[in-house]
């Protein structure tokens, strides 16, 4: 009886204690279990597998100008896409340029070593595309009825009671569709430029209408860009593919819209260095697409373009903090002067959207 009196509370106490201890064992998994790839990178990889989009520069330094999203609202991914797709929505600020860092670990400004690497790479490639909105000029579009020239938008004639392309804009002048340009010309980013030599069925690089002869545009056939007869859709007409639209236009959100061109951009691998004294780590390499010798600044439009940075001459490197990219949102603007020469009809109240995809080391 006495023994029972003593033992019962002790049994109970230790029983409850054991229960509590067992309960405490239901914790989170070991942190090492969260590591996707332990040890140095030892082969080709997508940047987004190891490096976080974790820093902004230029106008992005201030809240509200540059918004990044990953794998959300991307364009249709390029063929054989790898890693993440990034979408940057950029409203022009006082700096007139903005950029983003990709770092390991996130927000590493030189306080920690980069990701260790035990491999050599030939190059790093990436896809990029950009688009901005255009404000339509006053006046009726192609095919609309008219009684006088003033009824039609600039670049169109009132011909037999309907607005039609005038083929009257000289090279260098504004346009929306190629039919507005005079002679053998195409409308590239709202400017008449000399037409290319691409005949029907021939390839046209990066979806550029300027590669094709007048009257054709760079359409898509069998999943490749080819010079094709232009479509009939004017600005704002419904479309399902770019083939439905006239030369100078492309299909954006199911409507024919003027093709646009991004301003100068730079993509650099490495080059992250301590931003202030006391930080001890920096990238051993810094290879930039923008500054690659005589490479001309490419025209980045709404269609994916793939660029490659040669790493063959950098030699081996054993770690990498990251990479960064910056861009000027509009062509022709001068980041150092005000006012700038903004593109014809560019709607600066709407953000410029820049897409980056499949940044891959091989």
């Amino acid at each position: 009886m006495r023994r029972d009196f003593l033992m019962r509370p002790l049994h109970l106490f230790f029983g409850f204690l054991a229960l509590g201890a067992g309960w405490g064992g239901c914790g989170p998994v070991d942190l090492a279990g969260n590591v996707q790839h332990a040890g140095p990178i030892d082969g080709p990889f997508a940047v987004s597998d190891y490096f976080s989009q974790s820093g902004f520069m230029g106008d992005g330094m201030l809240s509200g100008f540059l918004t990044a999203s990953t794998n959300e609202e991307c364009k249709a991914r390029p063929p054989k896409a790898e890693g993440n797709c990034y979408r940057f929505s950029y409203e022009l600020g006082s700096e007139k340029w903005a950029g983003s860092y990709f770092q390991y670990p996130a927000n590493n400004w030189g306080s920690q070593p980069g990701r260790k690497i035990e491999a050599t790479f030939q190059d790093v490639s990436f896809f990029i595309a950009a688009e901005y909105s255009v404000t339509l000029p006053k006046g009726q579009g192609i095919g609309a009825s008219c009684t006088a020239l003033a009824d039609c938008r600039p670049g169109l004639d009132c011909d037999a009671g309907s607005c039609q392309p005038a083929r009257s804009q000289p090279l260098g002048e504004h346009c929306l569709v190629s039919g507005e340009c005079e002679g053998e010309a195409q409308c590239l980013a709202q400017t008449c430029v000399p037409a290319g030599a691409g005949a029907a069925g021939e390839a046209c690089a990066q979806g550029s209408d300027a590669a094709c002869v007048a009257g054709l545009h760079c359409g898509v056939e069998n999943d490749s860009y080819q010079c094709l007869a232009e479509g009939a859709g004017d600005v704002g007409a419904a479309c399902s593919t770019r083939n439905d639209c006239r030369a100078g236009l492309y299909c954006r959100d199911d409507q024919c819209a003027p093709k646009t061109i991004l301003g100068p951009f730079n993509f650099q691998v490495g080059g992250i260095a301590p931003t202030k004294p006391g930080l001890e780590y920096s990238d051993p390499i810094g290879v930039s697409y923008f500054a690659s010798g005589d490479q001309p600044q490419p025209l980045v439009g709404p269609d994916w373009q793939q660029f490659t940075i040669d790493l063959g001459s950098t030699g081996a490197f054993d770690s990498l903090i990251g990479a960064f990219m910056w861009a000027v949102p509009f062509p022709q603007i001068d980041v150092m002067t005000e006012p700038s020469d903004y593109p014809y009809l560019a709607d600066r109240s709407q953000p410029v959207v820049i897409y980056l995809d499949s940044v891959v080391f091989r």
Binding site: H37, G39, N71
Partner: protein, 607 residues
């Protein structure tokens, strides 16, 4: 078939079988037989005779003496005496066994009821046993209501038979009050059967209750009572770290981090209750904290964003008596949470994730005392950071906690200064609890994890008079651990720049301006409002750094009023109104903050 099983296992299985029978075929009050009506079972006795004899046997006695009194009660059982007299004696034994923590008290209550089945008072006392003595953090509602409704049934039978005496009015009054209190946390009854004034029909009828709790505060502390010192210091250390501002925060920034956002939270619940099932809840909650969350730790005080949280969920709660082992409270819920403002750099990000919560409690009498173990497990599968590197984007929060409490209910010898005699006196307290507990919150950010631990111990003394005093010491700790994926076999390491620990001393004095225990029946009401409880609470805290920065050391004190009342006109709904004010002084910053909180609860959960 189960003869091979150990005795206690057989007892538990037997108890479970009994419980199953209670679920499947609870006995109702049968119509009174002529013998019962005419008193063939002996003279009709006031059941409060049982109460009086119990009081006489326990007043100013030690538990050992009460045990002796119990032995005497066994000796007083005579073989040949009227059934009503035997029933009353069984009831006294049952009450004494209840007082002594005897696991077979219920059997004696059953014996009393079986011997004098017409008497509703014994059903009331048995119902009080399940609602006031047994249970784990909550009463054994299903068994308590079974006997309380049976009491109402029997009262009705007595009324029909013309045997309803004056004292039965007291039985009825107490019974209805116990039912009011039994459902007070449930909220507003939506169906009539379990609403005030109850009838015996409520026992097997379903109950539906709507509960709403509105809380407002302007406080440095969140509604989960986290340590504000640890929160502010953690924010400062992280902002100063080399992955953020990488500099010492200015005095002004440090000063500004101590903030008291305006917070509001509405918790609503639809509770479905049935005697066979327990309580099933549908939950909805909305929370907003204005300018509470740091948008970017690069500039920690430049922009604070609102945090909005809403959840929809379902829960379950039931207390299951498993004596002779223990009483077990099963409580848990699932919630689907939508949250915005909680992710750094992404104030507009709307996270949607699942949360699971388990809160079992185990409780058992040890003699007249009671030992209780409360466990908590919360798993919040927080949305991974969108688009981040997989190993850095993972988010998860797991909270584990346990609290072991030993509550003394033995009468204590007290100094008698309030009575002027200077002589010590022995009095039954309302309980003197000693407890220890631990809580660990693991919040994972990819390959980093912030580990927050609370270790605490304290005591709460509920005096036999109107006051209560709680003293608690808490040790708070925060660590950040990480692994380096560059290592072929990553080992967990501690980021010592983020280490922090503090200690808090808490004293809470409570005075019952209006004591619910002094009104065992249903209180008087005005316009349907019956005040039940009014407490003045005076909390005082002091928190100091043990490791790491001491910027946010503080003292805090204030006063709160807790007012509970029943609205008898709308089914006996319980309301709890709380208001409080605190002043908090961060003496190393020279900053004083004036804080307030208010709450109106119609039904509630764990407070």
């Amino acid at each position: 078939m189960i003869a091979w099983a150990p005795r206690r296992v057989r007892q538990v299985l037997g108890r479970l079988a009994l419980l199953a029978l209670t679920w499947s075929a609870p006995a109702g009050a049968k119509s009174l037989t002529p013998g019962e009506v005419e008193g063939e079972n002996g003279p009709r006795l006031n059941p409060f005779e049982c109460h009086g004899r119990y009081e006489a046997a326990t007043g100013n006695r030690t538990m050992a003496q009460v045990r002796v009194e119990l032995e005497k009660k066994f000796d007083q059982l005579a073989e040949k005496e009227p059934a009503s007299v035997s029933a009353m004696k069984y009831c006294v034994i049952a009450r004494l066994k209840q007082r002594l923590g005897g696991s077979d008290a219920g059997e004696w209550f059953e014996k009393a009821i079986a011997t004098d089945p017409a008497e509703p008072g014994y059903e009331l006392f048995f119902g009080m046993y399940w609602s006031m003595a047994r249970g784990a953090r909550a009463p054994v509602v299903e068994l308590a209501e079974t006997h309380l409704y049976l009491a109402l049934d029997k009262l009705e039978e007595l009324r029909k038979a013309g045997l309803y005496r004056d004292y039965h009015q007291t039985v009825e009054d107490w019974t209805k009050k116990r039912l009011l209190v039994l459902y007070q946390q449930d909220g507003q009854p939506l169906l009539p059967w379990k609403a005030y004034e109850q009838t015996g029909a409520g026992r097997l009828a379903p109950g539906a209750f709507a509960s709403a709790q509105l809380r407002l505060s302007r406080d440095t502390r969140d509604f989960f009572y986290n340590s504000e010192m640890r929160t502010f210091t953690g924010e400062k250390l992280f902002a100063q770290s080399d992955v953020r501002a990488d500099r010492a925060l200015t005095d002004r920034e440090t000063w500004d981090l101590a903030r008291a956002p305006l917070r509001g939270q509405l918790d609503t619940r639809l509770r479905l209750r049935h005697n066979f099932i327990g309580a099933v809840d549908l939950l909805y909650s909305a929370h907003q904290s204005k300018s509470a969350q740091i948008e970017s730790f690069y500039m920690p005080t430049s922009n604070l964003v609102d945090v909005n949280v809403a959840h929809l969920g379902a829960g379950y709660e039931r207390v299951i008596p498993l004596y002779p082992l223990f009483d077990l409270r099963l409580a848990g819920n699932y919630k689907r949470i939508e949250r915005s403002g909680a992710t750094e750099f992404l104030p507009e990000l709307r996270e949607q994730f699942d949360s699971f919560e388990l809160k079992p409690s185990f409780s058992r009498f040890v003699g007249s005392d009671k030992i209780t173990l409360d466990l908590t497990y919360v798993n919040m599968n927080i949305t991974d950071l969108p688009g981040g590197v997989p190993e850095q984007a993972l988010r998860e929060k797991i909270i584990r906690g346990g609290k072991l409490e030993y509550a003394l209910y033995s009468p204590l010898t007290m100094p008698a200064f309030p009575f002027g005699s200077g002589e010590p006196y022995r009095a039954a307290t309302r309980g003197w609890a000693f407890y220890v507990g631990a809580l660990q919150d693991d919040e994972t950010y990819g390959v980093r994890r912030v580990v927050r631990r609370d270790l605490y111990g304290g005591t709460r003394f509920d005096s036999p008079a109107r006051w209560a005093l709680q003293l608690q010491g808490t040790y708070y700790q925060s660590r950040t651990i990480f692994v380096d994926p560059n290592q072929a076999a990553p080992q967990e390491r501690t980021d010592t720049t983020q280490n922090f620990a503090s200690a808090r001393a808490t004293a809470i004095y409570q005075y019952r301006l209006l004591d619910p225990d002094r009104t065992p029946g249903v209180g008087d009401s005005a316009l349907g409002f019956a005040p039940d409880m009014l407490n003045l609470v005076i909390p005082v805290h002091w928190e100091a750094a043990v490791e790491g920065p001491n910027d946010y050391e503080n003292v805090r004190g204030g006063a709160e009023l807790w007012f509970k009342f029943f609205q008898q006109g709308i089914g006996g709904t319980a309301f709890l109104l709380t208001v409080g004010y605190d002043a908090q002084y961060f003496y190393n910053l020279g900053k004083t903050m004036h804080l307030f909180n208010a709450g109106l609860r119609m039904g509630w959960g764990d407070l």
